[in-house]
Symmetry: C2
Subunit: 371 residues, 2 copies
């Protein structure tokens, strides 16, 4: 199978696998696709260790890193450069009523406190320019083939810096207008992501979005959102994409370090068990629907805060929930495709299964047309 | 192109066109696809006239009729058979606060009253068993090839009756579970419809839904929701469908009797200008997003009523808005595909254009696989 994307990266299959788990990234790249490590949860020091591990386990195959540089967020105009100062300023912007709502919700579900384990340095994650840039600097010290930005067009100087290192740049777009802006700053690949995707996502479905983006830009497009098997891969290519970008399906592979509780819930869920919600980061993201997402939609909800304040508000709460038995509040990004995920397999088998099913779908289509 | 669906109906292209406009239905069937008339807005007498017209203009090609027999609705258990008695009983179930909300909304937009033109007999439309059955009886007196039901599995006796007349039955499903129920009552075709579709629609996207439905039932599946061009048709077939069911794209064809104001707004709209809302019928339906849909989501909204009360409540209001200049309140079903509709063409050109683009998409896919 050959597209501009397989040529660009020297990969066998145009299958991109977004994952926060280094084992998944390396396994997909070794299988002939391209793993992309989500850097969000890592400090620069941790990211350095993760990438070193991937370098040692990827057998020289290309892989990528995904950072989050939102085009807009609260505090972007404060003129504060150090993450520590930024955190202090932003903490002051969180209303007491919001803190009380979260505390009450956790109390109602008997979630124990954290004790001394709170780590204020983590509450921003890589969700601001100030926190994502150090991640980019770390990433560019490794032999990565792709730098992807998950929210809006990447800053022009980052695109230049990546290109100067021989690294291609991708960005996620949920409207044709986003895609055009991204092409203008020089991205090499646009990931057109439909509303059914897990994590931050727009309103337009993959079926409707992909042809609009393909028509709007000259660079190759990857189809994202609802892509989990070879039929969906073939559909994405029929819509004009030159490859697919997948995420949720890697949450339940053998290699994934997804918490057991989350894995179990994903394996049991149907495609109706997700919801687009601002309750995680302040920007709409598709999450597993549960008592957490319901609470933020309830009459008692104070409403969510803008990025990055919402995650700052809930960061400790998420950690407390993760260590408790309150599975009904566990919050994580998940796309509608989770309804079809009900088996744990090695990442390699998922890649090969997708390719095999893609070929079968193509043969079926060719028979229909011939008859 | 040959699938079980083209064989079943003796049609050239597996393209189904849902429309409330008889001219569109006849034009699509004559072009080699299959027009399906939405009966909802017609009294049995009007439907008789529409179908007579189609019989005279379809050149003997097959066409279908779509009715709405919801599996559940308020008043279904009242044991009232005549539409008149049912209307009287149901009117009493509409709270005064809701009537006031609608009146105030229209007053705020300077929408004039109707005068003597209110027609209480229309407020139910074909949205109950009592009002849809007479439509079915009319339809079966005509040489229709397909009877489709838009909300849930059709009653088993209706399926039998249709089959006794040599008429195939289709039903729209928005989850694999719906599809299984429909196959159990004996439908011949399942229309798997994604959330991006206009009108009544579920939550799961077309990309995610189609393979699940294809895997769940043995009868052929049509892909619906977000299908507007030949690339989307090819994608639907790649997902396992044996044809496509389209709706919104026919609103702007030359033959369509869509009100000029609505046509203009659809041609201008982007794919982000729709919203899934209960404000039309009480069940979630994708509508053009405007001040009407916003009002029902506002803090002042009394919330929507269950089907068929919501439409009874707003029926006169919709007519008043349609005759006024309050375009900002005009309410009509529209899918996300409206973002790509910006040209008025004859229905025949849309059919042929879709087929041509389908063939191009297939050729492009075959080249990718060969390389």
């Amino acid at each position: 199978m050959r597209t501009r994307v397989t040529d660009m990266f020297g990969i066998e299959f145009p299958i991109f696998a977004f994952s926060h788990c280094r084992d998944v990234v390396a396994a997909v790249s070794r299988a002939g696709g391209m793993g992309v490590l989500g850097a969000l949860y890592f400090t620069p020091e941790e990211l350095e260790m993760e990438l070193k591990w991937i370098d040692d386990h990827v057998d020289g195959r290309p892989y990528g890193v995904d950072v989050v540089m939102p085009a807009s967020y609260a505090g972007a105009d404060l003129g504060v450069d150090s993450p520590q100062d930024l955190v202090a300023r932003l903490q002051g912007m969180i209303p007491e009523g919001h803190r009380k709502f979260v505390d009450d919700l956790l109390a109602a579900h008997d979630v124990p406190p954290l004790g001394e384990e709170s780590d204020a340095g983590r509450v921003l994650l890589g969700w601001t320019d100030a926190t994502a840039r150090p991640q980019v600097e770390v990433a560019l010290r490794h032999p990565i083939a792709l730098l992807a930005n998950a929210l809006g067009p990447p800053p022009a100087d980052i695109v230049e810096l990546a290109h100067a290192h021989g690294v291609k740049v991708a960005a996620l777009a949920s409207t044709p207008r986003h895609a055009v802006k991204q092409a203008e700053v020089g991205v090499d690949v646009v990931v057109a992501q439909g509303t059914e995707a897990g994590g931050h996502t727009g309103e337009i479905s993959t079926m409707v979005l992909i042809p609009q983006v393909v028509d709007a830009v000259d660079v190759p497009v990857l189809a994202a959102g609802g892509i989990g098997d070879g039929r969906q891969m073939a559909a994405g290519m029929a819509l004009g994409a030159e490859g697919v970008w997948t995420g949720s399906i890697w949450l339940t592979v053998e290699e994934a370090d997804t918490p057991e509780m989350a894995k179990r819930r994903i394996l049991e869920a149907t495609s109706r068990d997700t919801v687009r919600s601002r309750s995680w980061t302040g920007k709409p993201a598709r999450l597993l629907k549960n008592e957490w997402t319901d609470a933020w939609e309830s009459a008692e909800s104070p409403g969510t805060l803008p990025m990055p304040l919402q995650f700052m508000l809930i960061s400790d709460a998420l950690r407390r929930i993760g260590r408790s038995d309150a599975a009904e509040l566990a919050t994580f990004p998940a796309g509608q495709i989770i309804g079809t995920m009900n088996q744990v397999k090695p990442a390699r088998d998922v890649v090969f299964g997708m390719v095999e099913q893609y070929v079968e779908a193509m043969e079926r289509l060719e028979r229909l047309t011939r008859d």
